[in-house]
Structures are given as structure tokens and as C-alpha cells.
């Protein structure tokens, strides 16, 4: 803390923080890129400069007479999960934030209800996934209910360990990522703008569409980035909720790592990262994140 005495060097206080990011963020990512061009055998990785790891990923992908290659299929399936999850988290997140920002008048209540939405984020994700089993399983509550009302005559298998349960778990886990930034944007909206629109005869829906949504755009973009990137790289939720049967990009990397095919995993990681960055880059073109904090 003596550093504070040298006024111009307050910046030095960032050194420990920077060191962590150099050592556990920059160097690992650079190494991943380098090693994606290395060779490997069963027990070791061998320095080299080859493109086999990449060409292997896209093997058969340019042969359009055959079925779609495994890589494209996996990416397509991950994109579909991304899109559906994004859609539901956006709709739900927006309306929860809207309620908190515009319908809850006392600040104390706003904080209490906001915390109520946030608390699950601080508890275990795995437990939150497991907790769907008693509801969605073969003998779960939902099936019991459906059977007893006679809506179906056999237990529904698609409820658990399926695409449905994966999306449900994603929405359950990550809607908060939408609520927080959108709520933040909404709280910055000057209430007099809304009143002005109201005084000029706009109805609730028009205010929502023409005033609130455009002003929430930064929040929506930030929330979307979080949700999309977390689903893109996921292997845990898709693993547990899909009964380890549904492929994902993250899972390919995970499996290759467990077989110690590290350069192959690195090549997949580079492609995943590039794709993620591309999506973020497109989205951040729309806003300046730094202004939103």
C-alpha cells in the first residue's frame, strides 16, 4: 500500500490482478493456439507445425454428396440450443426486469425481489440441474400429473435427458444473465421520457415498443452475449441434462482431452473460440460496453 504514496503509480496496484490474467488467461490461450498445430501420440504431445488437427475436424465436410459431417452436425445442434435458449431467456428476462423496474415502486422491494432472482446464481449449478429429475423423470411429478388427468396413457420419455430438458436447464440457470443487464438499462431510463410519451397519448404497448425497448438495447445485447457464449461452450449442462447422449462442441473437446489428444482438442478449442469471438464482435458493434457499467 506504500505504492499509494507515489501518486502517478496508483496503476501499479493493478499488477497482481494483471499477473493472474497473464498467467492464467493470456498464456494459456496463446499456448492453445500454438499446440493446435502440434503432433501427438498416445502419451505425449510433439512440437511440430502441421494442419492435420484442423483438417481432421473438417474431414468429409466438403463432400456434399454424403450426409452432413459430424462437426457440422454438432455445430448445428449447438447453434439450435443457443437460439432457443436465447429466445426464452430474452423474453422471460425482459419481462422480469420490466416488472422490477417499472412496477415495483419502493427501492427496498426492488432490491429484495432482485436478490430473490439472484440468489440461485450463488448456489450449485449441478444441484439445480439434478433437481429437475424428480419433476421430469419417468415417474416424476409431471408424468404423474399427465397420467392422472388422462392426457397421455404412457409416461413421456422426452421430458428428461432430451433436448427439451437441456433447454429447460439452460433457461433455468441463465435467465439471470439477461435480467441483470436489462434491468440495469431500464433503471437508467429517465422516467420523464416515459411520462412525456404517455402525455402525448401513447398507450402502454407503444411506450414499451417505441421507448423502452430501444433504450434497453445495450442491456439486451450484453445479456445475449452472456447467454449465447455460455451455451456455445457448454459441456456440463448438455452432458447431465442430455443423459450424456447429445453431442456438443464443448463435449468434443472434453472427450478428446480425456483421451489425451490434446492438440486435437486445442484445434477444436481454437475454432470454438474464433466463432464465439466472431459472434461477440458482431454484437458489440451495436454498443459500447464500458459505458454500461
Amino acid at each position: 500500500m506504500k505504492l499509494l504514496k507515489l501518486k502517478p503509480s496508483v496503476g501499479l496496484l493493478s499488477i497482481p490482478y494483471s499477473l493472474i490474467f497473464i498467467f492464467f488467461f493470456f498464456i494459456p490461450l496463446i499456448l492453445t493456439f500454438i499446440i493446435s498445430f502440434w503432433d501427438y501420440n498416445e502419451y505425449s504431445i510433439i512440437p511440430d507445425f502441421i494442419f492435420e488437427n484442423y483438417s481432421y475436424i473438417f474431414k468429409d465436410c466438403l463432400n456434399f454428396e454424403k450426409d452432413m459431417c459430424v462437426t457440422f452436425k454438432t455445430y448445428l445442434s449447438t447453434f439450435i440450443f443457443c437460439f432457443i435458449t436465447w429466445f426464452f431467456t430474452l423474453i422471460i428476462g425482459f419481462f422480469v426486469a420490466y416488472f422490477l423496474a417499472f412496477y415495483v415502486n419502493s427501492i427496498t422491494w426492488q432490491i429484495v425481489l432482485f436478490l430473490l432472482c439472484t440468489i440461485p446464481f450463488w448456489t450449485s449449478n449441478v444441484i439445480r440441474m439434478i433437481s429437475w429429475i424428480p419433476l421430469l423423470g419417468r415417474n416424476g411429478l409431471v408424468n404423474d400429473f399427465l397420467l392422472s388427468t388422462g392426457l397421455v396413457d404412457a409416461p413421456q420419455e422426452w421430458l428428461l435427458y432430451s433436448g427439451f430438458s437441456i433447454v429447460l436447464a439452460f433457461v433455468h440457470l441463465y435467465t439471470l444473465f439477461m435480467i441483470v443487464p436489462i434491468f440495469n438499462s431500464m433503471m437508467r431510463i429517465d422516467k420523464s421520457i416515459i411520462e412525456a410519451a404517455y402525455d402525448n397519448g401513447a398507450n402502454g404497448l407503444q411506450i414499451l415498443w417505441n421507448v423502452i425497448i430501444p433504450l434497453c438495447k445495450p442491456g439486451i445485447v450484453i445479456g445475449s452475449i452472456f447467454v449465447i457464449t455460455v451455451v456455445m461452450g457448454d459441456f456440463i449442462t448438455i452432458g447431465i441434462m442430455g443423459g450424456q447422449q447429445i453431442p456438443s462442441i464443448g463435449k468434443i473437446i472434453y472427450v478428446e482431452m480425456s483421451y489425451l489428444q490434446l492438440p486435437a482438442a486445442a484445434a477444436n478449442a481454437v475454432i470454438l473460440l474464433a466463432l464465439t469471438l466472431l459472434i461477440i464482435w458482431i454484437m458489440t458493434k451495436m454498443i459500447d460496453i464500458r459505458k454500461e457499467l
Binding site: 504514496k5 496496484l13 490482478y17 498467467f23 499456448l31 450449485s124 416515459i194 456440463i236 482431452m257 457499467l293
Partner: protein, 289 residues
């Protein structure tokens, strides 16, 4: 105005209640199911009421060594919490002025939140593998006995595991600091300085008390995110698994409510930490005001 209690208001209230039910309902069901009798299964109906599955968990019956995984997770969580507070508060102070590399560091902070966890985990694993190879090479080239005989790996909970988790918790800490300093009234600080206080004294007597409640928030993020962290540390924990890693393994092997009992216990720990933090936050705010 919007806050008029019309039909839309009640629709919104109803929608919000549904959302809260959706958030908490499933967790509530496993808490309920963990208190079943010895014949209970993974689904409803409840077969009697007892604490049998908690005793089973305590005995370690069907499960791997949960006790030590639990202990490891708590210890790691506390260390991550302390480091997250120290590093992000000091970096937050630094960021109040532009410094060399501040833009890059800000970029890294945001990027770290959105880089797919598996990619980072792989990167850290590769780095430590190379470090291992390098250490072994040193040992054999320079005939260092200690390395040749005892060295196994640099990968471990307090090296690679800790670092990987910090890349997840530190950004939250720094972003909270940003939010704090964006709303910070600098005049108190200037007053202290005008009265001749040293920078350290200004920080201790003026700035710190003002940001103390937010530091509780950072600590809360540090501990809970580490305690539940799974994706980033999955490849780099080395020999000893943390609780979330064990839990993930159990989802495929355990078919008794013992897993719900474990879920109830960890959720209880999380809720205790959250409640204590919120209580501290309120207490500090009151004291200040």
C-alpha cells in the same frame, strides 16, 4: 403512468411469481425428497420422513469421500474469496485513472467472462503440462535429485485450480468495483486530502468505509462462485476433486436420495453464506448512514 395498478400490473405480478416458483421449485423438491425414509427413491411420493439419507451421507456409505471433497471446496473457496477481494479492490483503485495497459486489462476482464470455460480449462491444463515436462527436463539434465525422485506434477488445486477459478471470480470483483467508483463521490476523498491525510490514510479512513458494503458483495461472489465452480476447474484440479466435480460424477452413478441429501447440504451452505453476507452488508450500510 405505468405504475397504475391496472390489469397489466397483475399479469406482471403473476408472471413474476411464476418465475420465482420456476427458480426455487425444483430445489425445494430435492430438499423435500432428501428427508425421506430408508425406502425412498428418486421421485415422489415421499416414503416416510427421516434423516436416514443424511446419516448415510455422513457415514460415506455408497458415495466417494464426500467429507474431504467438501473440506477442499470450502478451503479453496475461502482462498479464492480472499484473493478476489484483495486483487479486485486494488485493481479497482488503479482503474480510477488510466494506466499503461489498462485497456488491455479491461478487455481481458470482459473476455474472461465470455471465453468458453472448457477452452480456458484446456489452455491452463496445456500450460501446466508443459511446465511439468520442463521441470522433468530440468531434473534430468542437471541431475537434480529432488525433482527426479519426488516430482510428479505442478497441476493441483492450489496452483492451476486456483488460477482457473480466479479468471472467473476476478472479473465479477472488478466489475463491481467499477460500478462502485462510477457512483463514488470524490469530494470526501478530496476533503481528507486537503486536511493533510496521506493517501494510505485517506484510503483507510475515508474510501474503505464507503466501499466496505460492496466489498462484502465481492467476497460473496468470490466464495460462492468458487464453491460451485465446475467447468473451468474440471480439467485442472489434479488429484483431489472439489465437491461440484464429485457431484457431477455422482449424477451418473448414484441412484438413491443420498445425492439429494448432499444437494440439500451444499445448498444449505450456499444459503448460509448468502444470508451472512447480506446481513453484513445491511449492518455496514446502517453503520455508515
Amino acid at each position: 403512468m405505468l405504475n397504475k395498478k391496472n390489469k397489466t400490473y397483475y399479469v406482471c405480478v403473476f408472471f413474476f411469481c411464476l418465475f420465482v416458483l420456476f427458480l426455487y421449485g425444483p430445489t425445494f423438491t430435492i430438499v423435500l425428497l432428501s428427508f425421506q425414509g430408508p425406502d425412498g427413491g428418486l421421485t415422489f411420493p415421499l416414503n416416510g420422513v427421516s434423516t436416514y439419507w443424511f446419516e448415510e451421507l455422513w457415514r460415506g456409505g455408497s458415495v466417494v469421500d464426500i467429507g474431504s471433497a467438501f473440506k477442499r471446496s470450502i478451503i479453496l473457496g475461502v482462498i479464492v474469496m480472499i484473493l478476489t477481494v484483495l486483487l479486485s479492490v486494488s485493481a479497482g483503485l488503479a482503474f480510477r485513472k488510466k494506466f499503461w495497459g489498462s485497456d488491455t486489462l479491461f478487455f481481458a476482464t470482459v473476455a474472461s467472462l465470455i471465453v468458453p470455460s472448457i477452452v480456458l480449462s484446456l489452455g491452463v491444463a496445456l500450460q501446466f503440462r508443459l511446465l511439468d515436462d520442463f521441470t522433468k527436463w530440468l531434473g534430468s539434465t542437471f541431475d537434480i535429485n529432488y525433482i527426479n525422485e519426488f516430482f510428479q506434477t505442478t497441476l493441483g488445486m492450489f496452483t492451476s485450480g486456483l488460477g482457473a477459478q480466479l479468471t472467473w471470480t476476478l472479473p465479477f470483483g472488478l466489475l463491481i468495483m467499477f460500478a462502485v467508483f462510477n457512483r463514488f463521490d470524490k469530494s470526501y476523498e478530496e476533503a481528507a486530502r486537503d486536511l493533510g491525510a496521506s493517501p494510505w490514510k485517506t484510503f483507510k479512513e475515508v474510501v474503505f468505509p464507503l466501499i466496505a458494503p460492496s466489498i462484502i458483495g465481492i467476497a460473496l461472489f468470490g466464495f460462492t462462485l468458487s464453491y460451485d465452480e465446475l467447468a473451468r476447474s474440471s480439467q485442472v484440479m489434479g488429484a483431489g476433486n472439489t465437491l461440484p466435480l464429485e457431484l457431477r460424477g455422482l449424477t451418473t452413478t448414484v441412484t438413491t436420495p443420498v445425492i439429494y441429501a448432499l444437494g440439500t447440504v451444499t445448498t444449505f451452505v450456499s444459503f448460509s453464506v448468502i444470508s451472512i453476507s447480506i446481513a453484513c452488508y445491511i449492518w455496514l450500510k446502517r453503520k455508515k448512514g
